[in-house]
Amino acid sequence: MPWGSALILLAALAGALLAPWLAPYDPDQVDVLHRFTPPFWLDGGSVEHLLGSDDLGRDLLSRLLFGGRVSMLVAVVCVSSDAMLGTLIGMLAGYLGGWVDAALMRVADVMLALPYLLIALVVVSVLGASLVNVVVIIVALRWAGLARIVRGETLGIKQRDYVALARVGGVGRAGILLRHVLPNVMNSVIVVSTLGVGTVILFESALSFLGVGVPPPTATWGGMVADGRGSIGSAWWVSLFPGLAITAVCLACNLLGDWLREVFDPKSMRA
């Protein structure tokens, strides 16, 4: 168990969940008299703004805590929706085969071939930026990767004798998918999804950075990095802290995903 990663994720989750109680200020409260206050350990910093303030005098610590809520909510919702959609489509394509497989996998190929940042920019420009739109775009662009993996696994499981024997034992298609295929693809789904959390946070950050993510003034980590880029030479802390948060959470998710991959590897399973 990678305890460091677990600790980082737990801290990030606790910060996000408890933001209303932990944050010293309203994250959107503007205070033009205290713009660009440096963090407390620098000259001119004060313990009133532990991590300093941004160009509108908003408290960075508060925005970091509240921003984590949005970033991680988007990550969890997107990854679990991806997992359900990708697993369902992958299992159906792999088990039913034939034209169902061909049709679903061609759609998946198209989704995988799309330049996703460009598509996201176009869709948001047309539909407008909102939290829901961001989630829908990320899910729509990401399910195909998992569906391909699940389909491959399903093709292998379909060949196993226990599936043939389930048919001999009178089990129908739905029963086989639910009781035999699903439990055996879950390993891959869990591992791939865990690795996906970091990717989704990065993607949401990229959208927010480009100004097509969750609309301001709502704080998100990516949006905060974008807010600080104009003043990066003089007030580097505005971008640095949200950037560090993104890096830490993504790294922790990836390490945890790698660890899960090893744990679920049948070769590492002990009797």
Binding site: A166, G169, V171, P183
Partner: protein, 322 residues
């Protein structure tokens, strides 16, 4: 004598295979099962022997309705089986069960043994949940497993024990025919006799008929009342086990017996071992399929295909030279 339990009449199973480039390559048919006819009487064991690739396993998959036959008739208990569905299919599933070769692949690694054994009863709906638990315990006891086996997972058992679990599951619907596809070839030599004896005890107690597929002639001899010898998708010889083993007529049967039972390897009269490989099923030889490896082949073997002819003692042979 009553009607046979399972009748197979001129059964064919062909697989289309595209060889070469996609769309440009030629579409060919693999004749995995090519005109097989036999029947299994109630409560008897019909053994089928043959080399790997001769179509034995495909034959079982067609009989188990896992693959649709290309052509030919199957009748179970006098009723047609081809293309059945609904209630008739459920009745057939209940009456015909199977045990496969590899007990690792046959048991879902994420299900408890009790759920594996009870699955057919649940799917076919023969027992309530409570009755099912009692019946699973009884079945596990029948096959000689420990009391608390139902709550364990398959990986906690050895190969022989896993095969016992698979047998318990096959018995759970009180079937009238169990298809045994190489039931002991994946097991240690020391376990094989135990499993064979278990199967015989079960047959004595329940009167279930077996279709036994094996490549080991000794196993088939020990278990079977009737035997069919299969070569490249066709039965080349059938007959009661004792007469077929005492008096093998087809040169392929003789070669198989000679290869399997070298009781006196120093004797000169043993026929020469089989030379060469099984021909490609894409392009089986003309006439008799065995002629390319047959020690006594002659010109007419390439011209005409021999059919099964009765030879007395219930034996039938497909060979021009016998």
């Amino acid at each position: 004598m009553s009607a046979p339990l399972l009748e197979i009449d001129n059964l064919h199973k062909h697989f289309p295979v595209r060889r070469g480039l996609p769309l440009l390559g030629t579409l060919q048919q693999v004749h995995a099962v090519d005109g097989v006819t036999f029947s299994i009487a109630r409560g008897e064991t019909f053994g089928i022997v043959g080399e790997s690739g001769c179509g034995k396993t495909t034959l079982t998959r067609v009989i188990l309705l896992l693959e649709a036959a290309t052509s030919g008739e199957m009748r179970f208990d006098g009723r047609g089986v081809n293309g059945i569905g609904g209630g008739a299919l459920r009745d057939y599933r209940r009456a015909v069960q199977a045990v496969f070769q590899d007990p690792n692949s046959a048991l879902s690694p994420r299900m408890r043994v009790g759920d594996i054994v009870g699955e057919p009863m649940r799917a076919i709906g023969t027992h309530s949940a409570a009755d099912r638990r009692i019946e699973v315990e009884r079945l596990l006891k029948t096959v000689g497993l420990r009391d608390n086996a139902a709550s364990a997972y398959p990986h906690e058992f050895s190969g022989g024990q896993r095969q016992r679990i698979a047998i318990a599951r096959a018995l759970s619907t009180k079937p009238r025919l169990i298809v045994l596809d190489e039931p002991i070839s994946a097991l240690d030599i020391s376990i094989r006799a135990q499993i064979m004896n278990l199967l015989r005890d079960i047959q004595d107690a329940t009167g279930t008929a077996f279709l036994l597929i094996a490549h080991d002639l000794a196993v088939v001899k020990h278990m079977s009342t009737h035997v069919g010898v299969m070569y490249l998708g066709k039965l080349v010889e059938t007959g009661p086990a004792d007469s077929l083993y005492r008096r093998p007529l087809h040169p392929y049967t003789r070669a198989l017996l000679a290869a399997a039972l070298p009781a006196r390897p120093d004797h000169e009269d043993a026929p020469p071992p089989l030379a060469g490989e099984l021909p490609s099923p894409f392009a089986p030889p003309s006439g008799c399929r065995f002629r390319t490896r047959c020690p006594i082949a002659e010109a007419r073997c390439a011209a005409a295909e021999p059919t099964l002819r009765p030879m007395g003692d219930g034996q039938s042979v497909a060979c021009h030279r016998v």
